[in-house]
């Protein structure tokens, strides 16, 4: 096994090595360039000298396995690697700019910034989980930001890929991770739970809000395990003006049992982007930690020991808890279509208990005329639509928290629906086909445009009845999609 270190100016498989950027616990980072790749690159070399932690080797192997299999804006692009038989390294795209670490100098952060940063990190975690990977070392220093705004996750040395052998789990009995951010199940040796990353993100949000870490920075296993039975101080106890919605989100992320956290990173991002729609529970207004009686029971009573299941697949879990958006046309009510739309949505929600529903309506704005928010009778149009939207959803009888309601004001309905789907990571759009009319012939079909452009599945619903049958018989529908 080669052990010699790199030096500046050296060439390695076509990578020209530049300045040494960082010496970490397990690896050294070098700046590099390559004639085939634009811009600055990064070469990561594991620390293999005698006496170094053997985890350095295994975590390097894991990163070498996982990084080439990841794609998208939320990870650095993989460019090449060398194995242990010659000289081990991983080359990747270098993301310019600092990690989230400098934010810690400015704590506590404004609430809007906490939600904004949190939502971007949740987007990145969602993208990772959909690629079958749990990160397991989410912390400010492992999160970079692209100039275009996307959060980028780095360092997959402790990560776990559901479809590849887990070399970490077999090698080490002690949990590996970063003490303040490790989820309870991770401390107990579970490495397959995507919601461990949500716990870590919750820890970051707590830190950003209060300036303190919810469980400190314990250095021993016994100290790490304390978070299994001792709840953190509620953020409001440290920052009195912490809004209910933010405390609700943070404490939900920090739940001991993963099942009590948000089902997916996408659903967490959704909450962070729609504070007014967060379902508040007892967590939201908690002022102090649980009392000693409750805590002692959690610590010592055998019936209160948390049980952690091993999950098989991060991506499967994401698929079972999708965000479904239903676009309801309230401008020209069609009772048969409304009913058909509700039936379809009801069936989806009944099949997938983890799913949440975003009910959308587009309030059309005129391109030229200056719109007023009031109609001729002086009613607030936006509010009126919201009331009608809730009325449409009422027969679905969804509990609070499973459905949210959004009136989007836009010139182009299709664009507004598509934009909402993109920004919020919607998995499935359900909408009605507009009835045959002069308007549709002139404007084209909104559902056709959404179906063609959407980043996700689209179901277009039609009412089957006398009116629909008659419309289907007219010749012009033959070549009009939807």
């Amino acid at each position: 096994m080669a052990r010699q270190m790199l030096t500046e100016g050296e060439e390695l498989d076509g990578f020209r090595i530049g300045a040494r950027l960082h010496v970490g616990g397990m690896a050294v980072l070098w700046e590099a360039t390559h004639p085939d790749h634009d811009g600055a690159l990064l070469v990561k070399v594991p620390r293999l000298a005698e006496g170094e932690d053997p985890a350095a080797i295994v975590s390097f192997e894991m990163e070498q396995m996982i990084l080439p299999r990841l794609s998208g804006p939320h990870v650095p692009r993989f460019l090449g690697a060398g194995g242990f038989e010659v000289r081990p390294y991983i080359a990747m795209e270098r993301i310019p700019g600092p990690s989230l670490l400098p934010l810690i100098e400015q704590l506590p952060l404004p609430f809007a910034q906490i939600a904004e940063v949190g939502a971007r990190v949740a987007d990145a975690l969602d993208a990772l989980h959909r690629q079958h990977v749990v990160h397991l070392d989410v912390k400010p220093s492992n999160i970079l930001t692209r100039p275009t705004g996307e959060a980028v996750l780095v360092d997959f040395g402790l990560s776990r890929h559901a479809q590849l052998p887990d070399l970490m789990e077999e090698e080490f009995r002690l949990p590996y991770g970063t003490a303040p951010y490790m989820a309870p199940e991770q401390i107990m040796g579970v490495r397959s739970e995507p919601r461990s990353d949500l716990f870590a993100l919750g820890t970051m949000l707590y830190f950003f809000t209060t300036g303190e870490r919810p469980h400190g920075d314990p250095q021993r296993l016994s100290g790490l395990k304390r978070r299994l039975w001792r709840d953190p101080k509620p953020p409001k106890a440290l920052r009195r003006d912490c809004p209910d919605w933010l405390q609700e989100i943070i404490l939900r992320c920090l739940e001991v049992l993963p099942e009590r956290r948000h089902p997916t990173a996408a659903q967490l991002a959704y909450d962070l982007r729609h504070p007014d729609q967060v379902k508040l529970t007892a967590r939201a207004r908690k002022q102090k930690q649980d009392g000693w009686a409750k805590t002692i029971q959690r610590r010592f009573h055998p019936d209160h020991q948390p049980k952690f299941a091993r999950r098989s697949n991060a991506a499967e879990q994401a698929a079972s808890a999708p965000i479904v958006a239903v676009a309801v046309d309230l401008s020209a009510p069609d009772p048969a279509l409304h009913e058909a739309l509700r039936t379809t949505v009801g069936q989806i929600m009944a099949t997938l208990p983890g799913a949440r529903l975003a009910c959308l309506n587009v309030l059309r704005q005129n391109r030229i005329a200056l719109d007023t928010t009031l109609d001729e009778a002086g009613n607030n149009k936006h509010l009126q639509r919201l009331v009608e939207l809730k009325h449409w959803a009422q027969p679905l009888a969804l509990p609070e928290g499973r459905a949210t309601f959004h009136v989007l004001e836009a010139v182009d309905p299709a664009n507004a629906i598509l934009e909402h789907a993109r920004v919020n990571g919607v998995d499935h759009i359900v909408m009605g086909a507009r009835a045959q009319s002069l308007k549709r012939r002139v404007l084209g079909s909104v559902s056709a445009e959404v179906a063609a452009e959407a980043p996700c599945s689209v179901t277009v619903v039609r009412a089957r009845g006398a009116a629909a049958e008659a419309a289907a018989r007219t010749p012009e529908t033959a070549d009009t999609p939807f």
Binding site: I57, Q64, F84, L164, P165, E169, E170, E171
Partner: protein, 246 residues
């Protein structure tokens, strides 16, 4: 180089043809057959003839316990296997038997060892069913990668520098890096009689350039293969299990 590895064909013509076609479509440049060309299935003569043809074209072919039983009677098999072996002996001509009898028990190529069963003592036909069996095989040989069959359920075992073993159930169609310098033992699924609950025929592609192994599953005409087994008068259970993949 992309190497297609097939094991446990068991005289199932429909499954064998489907796997060969799939391997060809995926760009296999070399073929290795890990034994048990015959036994259980209704097309032993065709399976041996096709295998001879492939061997003449450069394929590595090894001997399995059922190939051995098709040449001369041997004990230690369950009643269904014994009945199938007797039927197979009658169905094969002397040339086919001579071909099977002459097959080697193992073959080594670069950093790889091919063998039908446990590499520790190939002639005893022990199964590699768990990490301890895998360790015994890996300890007995020098090769970095050992590829075997016999169990009819795909599995992968990796040995670390600290002599610890990782065991892993391979996911279909996902390339698994057999990281260097770790040592690995892969148990292939069966072409002709899968037993992991998935009736689709199993084979594997090894890409030596990237050191990646991928398990592929191919649907084939199970009904025809099962019908032929019934028509030949072989035990019903051998026909029925193909549809269950157990």
């Amino acid at each position: 180089m992309k190497i297609a590895i097939l094991s446990d064909i068991h005289a199932n013509r429909e499954a064998f043809e489907a796997c060969l076609a799939d391997a060809d479509r995926r760009g296999a440049q070399r073929l290795v057959i890990l034994g048990d060309v015959v036994g259980y299935g209704a097309d032993p003569a065709w399976a041996v003839w096709r295998t001879m043809e492939l061997a003449n074209a450069g394929a590595i072919v090894l001997r399995g316990n059922h190939d051995e039983a098709a040449v001369a009677e041997r004990g230690g098999m369950n009643p269904d296997a014994t009945a199938a072996a007797a039927w197979t002996r009658d169905a094969l001509d002397p040339e086919a038997k001579a071909f099977l009898a002459a097959l080697p028990l193992e073959a080594e190529e670069e950093d790889r060892l091919y063998v039908h069963a446990d590499a520790h003592d190939p002639a005893r036909w022990h199964y590699v069913r768990d990490a301890e069996d895998a360790r015994r095989s890996l300890d007995a040989v020098q090769a970095r990668i050992v590829l075997c069959g016999h169990v009819h359920v795909p599995a992968l075992y990796g040995l670390t520098a600290a002599a610890k073993l990782v065991s892993f159930k391979p996911v279909t169609d996902v390339a698994i890096p057999l990281m260097r310098p770790r040592r690995w033992l892969a148990v292939l699924g069966a072409v002709g009689q899968p037993r992991d609950g998935d009736p689709a025929a199993a084979w594997a592609m090894l890409d030596t350039a990237s050191s990646e192994l991928t398990i592929h599953r191919v649907p084939y005409d199970v009904a025809t293969a099962a019908e032929k087994i019934r028509h030949a008068g072989l035990p019903e259970s051998l026909a029925a299990r193909l549809a269950r993949g157990r």
